[in-house]
Every structure is written in C-alpha cells, then in structure tokens.
C-alpha cells in the first residue's frame, strides 16, 4: 500500500489573483483548511505528490487533446499565466521521470493515457501547490483530465482512471500522495463568474463523501452543464479521487466564495 494520502481541493485562479477582493471572514478559514491539508500531506511522508488537475488550455489544446495525461518530466515550470495577474511567483517544480514512467506503464494496463515530458503548470496545479508546497520542495507528478474541450471522457472512465492511479501507486515502492483538484458547480471566466449552485454542490459532496460510485457516475454532461455550468465538468477529478481511495470522504471545508468563482472545497478521503 503506497498510496498514503488522497484529498481534494479547489484551484480557481481567483483564490490567489483576487485574494484581496474576498471577505476575510470567508477567505481566511479556507486558507486555513488548505494549510491543514498541507500538514496532513506532510505527515504521510510522501515521496511524490500526484496532482490530478483539469487544466484550461495551457498545454493541451484542441489541436491534439488527450482525455488523460500524466507527466514524466524532469521538471515543470509555472505558472503559465502572468505571475503578477495570478499573484503566484514563477517556480520550477521537481519531477521524477523514472517514477512517472513506472506509474504510466502500470496505468496503461487498464486506461489509455498520454504522457508528457514537458508541462507548464497553469492555475489548476500551481494554485494548489502554492498552498500545499509553498517551499517548492516536493516531487510532483502532474496528471490531467480534459474537462474543457468536448467530447469529454465519460464519468465512468474518470472512475477507471482513479482506479488505475491507485493500482499504479500501490505497485511502486515510493509513497504517493494524491490531490485531485477541480471545481464543483461554477461558471468561470464567463459573465456568470461567481454564480454557484450551492445545493447542487452539497449534494455532489454528499455523494463524494459516501464514495457512492453509482450516484457519482449518475450525472449526464447535459445535466451537469445545466445545473453546474461548464465548470461542473471538473467533477471528474473528484470522482477519480473517490475511485483511488475507496474509502469515505470528509469535507473539511466548503463555502461558496463568489469572487473566487467557485464553492471553495477542501477534503480528504480514507484509503482502504
């Protein structure tokens, strides 16, 4: 058993870019929950942190769009956004090509993934890292699920992707921490930015915390788009976390923060 931690968190760029526009009474407890997540990850003494993200046309575009991608680069740069806009300084994160290659090789037994020796982190990965690895000390294995450009991978394949992560993590001697990052309902970067369907989010998080596979996979994309916006497609990352950990989830923080454009979420999952 070398999957040592599984958690979820939000990654919206506003979390850092528009920090000064948020109500501190909402913002600061969210930041505190991320700090607690950092400490919990650290306590599991991981050799590498895999971050499953839903990136936003930073590396992957419609010229050649993989449903799933895993990084096996030596290092990764980011943020790809203007650092002054995102308010996160540039960093070169450490990768592990050998570990990445072994993880990919095992995952390919059941899921087809692209692999990447080049990857520039966008806010989907660098915002979580800003809080979870502020000293830029961890070894990072980035992963991506296409949640931007339809046709999108079906939810049951996101589940299979999570299962493959678990199997791959358990097949290597390294201790792997897993953080899956996405939004629940949100309409980011549209005029509707800040709209949040809190009831839908809470219902989704109930399904997630119960690790109820059938109910997690019951959404059609049309329903998600209608009720949770185009940002809601990112539930794929949280679904992958549930498949990887197999246990129950604990939502450690949830609060809609409209200026951050998402219901801000931090959670962890029991690994069984």
């Amino acid at each position: 058993m070398t999957l040592v931690y599984t958690g979820i968190c939000s990654h919206a760029p506003g979390i850092t870019a528009r920090a000064d526009m948020a109500d501190p009474a909402l913002r600061d407890p969210f930041y505190a929950a991320l700090e607690r997540q950092r400490q919990e990850i650290l306590a599991t003494r991981p050799d590498a942190l895999m971050i499953v993200a839903a990136e936003h046309f930073a590396n992957f575009f419609m010229n050649s769009m993989p449903a799933y991608a895993i990084g096996m680069g030596d290092s990764y740069s980011g943020p790809i956004e203007d650092p002054d806009w995102l308010k996160i300084p540039p960093r070169i994160a450490k990768g592990d090509p050998d570990l990445g290659r072994r993880l990919v090789a095992e995952m390919l037994q059941t899921v087809d993934v692209s692999y990447c020796e080049e990857w520039q982190f966008d806010h989907g990965i660098i915002v979580p890292l800003h809080f979870l690895d502020p000293g830029n000390e961890m070894t990072i294995i980035p992963a991506n699920i296409n949640c931007q450009g339809p046709p999108l991978t079906p939810l049951h394949r996101a589940w299979a992707f999570g299962e493959a992560i678990r199997r791959a993590a358990d097949s290597v001697p390294e201790r792997i921490a897993l953080v899956c990052t996405g939004g629940i309902s949100h309409w980011p970067a549209t005029p509707d930015s800040g709209k949040i369907n809190e009831a839908w989010d809470r219902d989704f998080l109930d399904r997630w915390a119960a690790n109820d596979r059938d109910r997690l996979l019951a959404y059609s994309d049309a329903e998600t788009y209608r009720d949770a916006g185009q940002g809601g497609f990112e539930i794929r990352t949280f679904i992958a976390a549930a498949a990887a950990a197999r246990g129950n989830g604990e939502v450690q923080f949830f609060a809609p923060i409209p200026i951050f454009a998402v219901g801000c979420t931090v959670g962890r999952m029991e690994i069984i």
Partner: protein, 108 residues
C-alpha cells in the same frame, strides 16, 4: 467563421513569450499568421472582449487575453455582458451567459 483559428491565436499568445513580444511590437503581423475572418481580426486587434466572447472564444483563454490587454477583472465581466447586449447571444462553445444583464453574481 474560423473560431478554431481565433482560439488558437489567443492560446498561443497566452503561453508563448515570443508571441507576446510580437503582440507588443507588431500585433497585426502576429494576427495575420492566422486565417481569420475580418470580424475576428478586428475583434482581436481592437481588444473587443465582448465580441470575442460572443464569437465563442473559451473564457479560459479569453480571460488571459483580457489581462494581457490590461483589463481588470470587473471590467472583463462587464465587457462580456456588453458584448452580448451589442452583438447578441454567444454563437458557439460552452461559455454562454445564463444570467440577466444587470446581475452582478461576482459581487462586483
């Protein structure tokens, strides 16, 4: 209509330092490297966020183009709304507007 090429241009501009340099020095030359319609070309060169939004440019690309043009967040949201008022509903893609013109869902 060449939404893919329009989006590709903004994607490249968002991620490539050389393209950013060209954008600063000779934006028309950069834009002419992509087969755009006259309307699309004018929207980019005119920093017309509202029209780019209505044409269907994905917001994840558009918001960074807006930042590159020095447009603050509240203005970015406003310009998209004004674009819909001026040019009509979003013509393609997933990033349609679902709220009313006078709503301020972000609180700004």
């Amino acid at each position: 209509m060449s939404l893919y090429q329009l989006s590709k241009l903004l994607y490249v501009l968002n991620r490539d330092d050389e393209a950013k340099r060209q954008w600063r020095e000779d934006p028309a030359a950069l834009v002419d490297g992509f087969p755009l319609t006259g309307e699309e070309r004018q929207a980019v060169l005119g920093h017309d966020i509202g029209l780019l939004y209505v044409l269907g440019v994905n917001g994840q690309i558009l918001m960074h183009f807006a930042a590159l043009c020095g447009i603050a967040w509240a203005d970015y949201l406003r310009l998209m709304r004004e674009g819909v008022q001026t040019y009509g509903p979003v013509r393609a893609g997933l990033y349609a507007m679902t709220t009313q013109f006078d709503e301020r869902v972000a609180g700004i």
